[in-house]
Amino acid sequence: MGSIGAKEVPVLLSPEGRRIDGRRLDELRALKITAGALHEADGSAYVEWGANKVMAAVYGPREVHPRHLQQNNKAIVQCRYNMAAFSVDERKRPGLDRRSQEISKVISEAFESVIFAEEYPRTSIDVYIEVLQANAGTRCAGIVAASVALADAGIPMVDLLPAVAVGKVAGEIALDLKKEEDNFGEADLPMALVPQSGRLVLLQMEGHMTAPELARALELGVRGCRSIYETMKQALRERYATGTGAEPQGAA
């Protein structure tokens, strides 16, 4: 994958089992989440995850645009995942390419699986994810940011949605790939977990894995998600545990 035309494949795994940035196979990159990072949005969150920087905002429930998408028995969830032109090494043409549209679709479906949409018929819950700086795993960072933003907006959900990508690096299953590992790795498997039920609402995969490797990857990913889940809850606690100043937006 991605190796055609590449100049040089870096050493991805040291003999001591350390990865390119010194992590072990089951270690996450540093994750920092700020709930309520924006003023205008009904809910928002900013995530720095390794070298990823992702902002998410939620508007709604509000009127549906375009109108014909409106559903009489529930809210619709419209997610837009977008990468800024400057977020990658070589400038990306602005706007939604096919990759972004596909990711937007699967993220919308993941959130619609956990939001109590039937409580807000004829409305739209709009989720915007902007990738400002990308370093592999941006859809997962986007989901983490968006789900904290949804909670910040007071949208009722079954649970938060922690997400992480598991991959295969130098023949080994590894958690939370960074860019070099993603480019030169042998597989990539992003997932989003509903911690309450232990079920996955987002799952994609590309590369080569045997069935036992896949089972191991799922186990590693679920464990990673549970750890990310704690960071997400902590970010929300910090946002709402001030006890000083004005009531935060969407806190009702």
């Binding site: 055609i4 035309g5 009489n72 549209q101 996955l200 590309e206 590369g207 080569h208 894995m209 069935a211």
Partner: protein, 262 residues
């Protein structure tokens, strides 16, 4: 509104049946509909195939043109997959720009072909950095009775395995030659209906589904691509059992895709 009520009644019925392991069309939970891959369906294409799964029909046409490699992959040819859900294939499709559904189909099919290395793209390079073949895989869904992803990949494989590189027409060589195909990935799609997970969903089952999972496997027993779609969730145990089922169905489907291959 009447449409919504009718759809709701049908969904309830499908879920009721699924509870006792039955399906609307009489199939068992692990029964795949009859599959046919008919290569050479379109004479104007360099490779083509018509695939049917039950009444679902997808046509694939492969066209090769002389072009330039991408700057970041100077030693490789270019492969482009595009799927169109034309309005004639379903009352639910409307004309207009590509729907996310169509984009998902083409990207999931493309991912399987790329990850399995169906085509060795370096073999499509003529002069590094200068000239290469651009291989267009165009998919036309013409009758949508469910499970168009599996049908689309089977059609693409049928078309690629029988494709000819038009080297003479583009003055690259003196004679045309067959396109080399290395690996044959096949996709197998499942949907959740309550606690039951069924293979090869019909259109109505997709409407009733609480989650869809597509698993692409190659002939070496690897999983090469996956895509979860629709609203719903799967447990890791669900997923491992789906992968086992996909590997089993995969062997049979691959034989069909190879079919009358030389």
């Amino acid at each position: 509104m009447t449409d919504e009520v009718a759809a709701e009644i049908l969904t309830t019925h499908i879920l009721d049946l699924a509870r006792s392991g039955r399906r609307l069309d009489g199939r068992g939970t692990d029964d795949y509909r009859e599959v046919k891959v008919e290569p050479g369906f379109v004479a104007t294409a360099d490779g083509s195939a018509l695939t049917t799964i039950g009444t679902t029909k997808v046509v694939c046409g492969v066209k090769l043109e002389s072009g330039k490699p991408f700057p970041d992959t100077p030693n490789a040819g270019v492969l482009t997959t595009n799927a169109e859900l034309v309005p004639l294939s379903s009352p639910t499709f409307e004309p207009g720009p590509p729907h996310p559904r169509a984009i998902e189909v083409s990207r999931v099919v493309d991912r399987a072909i790329r990850a399995a290395e169906t085509i060795d793209l370096t073999r499509l390079c003529v002069t590094p950095g200068e000239k290469s073949w651009v291989c267009y895989v165009d998919l036309h869904v013409i009758d949508h009775s469910g499970n168009i992803i599996d049908a689309a990949l089977l059609a693409a494989l049928g078309a690629l395995t029988h494709a000819t590189v038009p080297a003479k027409r583009f003055g690259v060589r003196d004679a045309d030659y067959p396109l080399e195909v290395q690996h044959l990935p096949v996709e197998c799609t499942f949907v959740r209906l309550g606690d039951t997970i069924v293979v090869d969903p019909s259109f109505d089952e997709e409407q009733a589904a609480q989650g869809r999972l597509t698993v692409a496997t190659d002939e070496l027993g690897n999983v090469v691509a996956m895509q979860k779609g629709l609203i719903g969730a799967f447990s890791p145990e669900d997923i491992t059992s789906i992968v086992d089922r996909a590997l089993r169905h995969g062997e049979r489907l691959r034989a069909l895709a190879r079919g009358s291959a030389p």
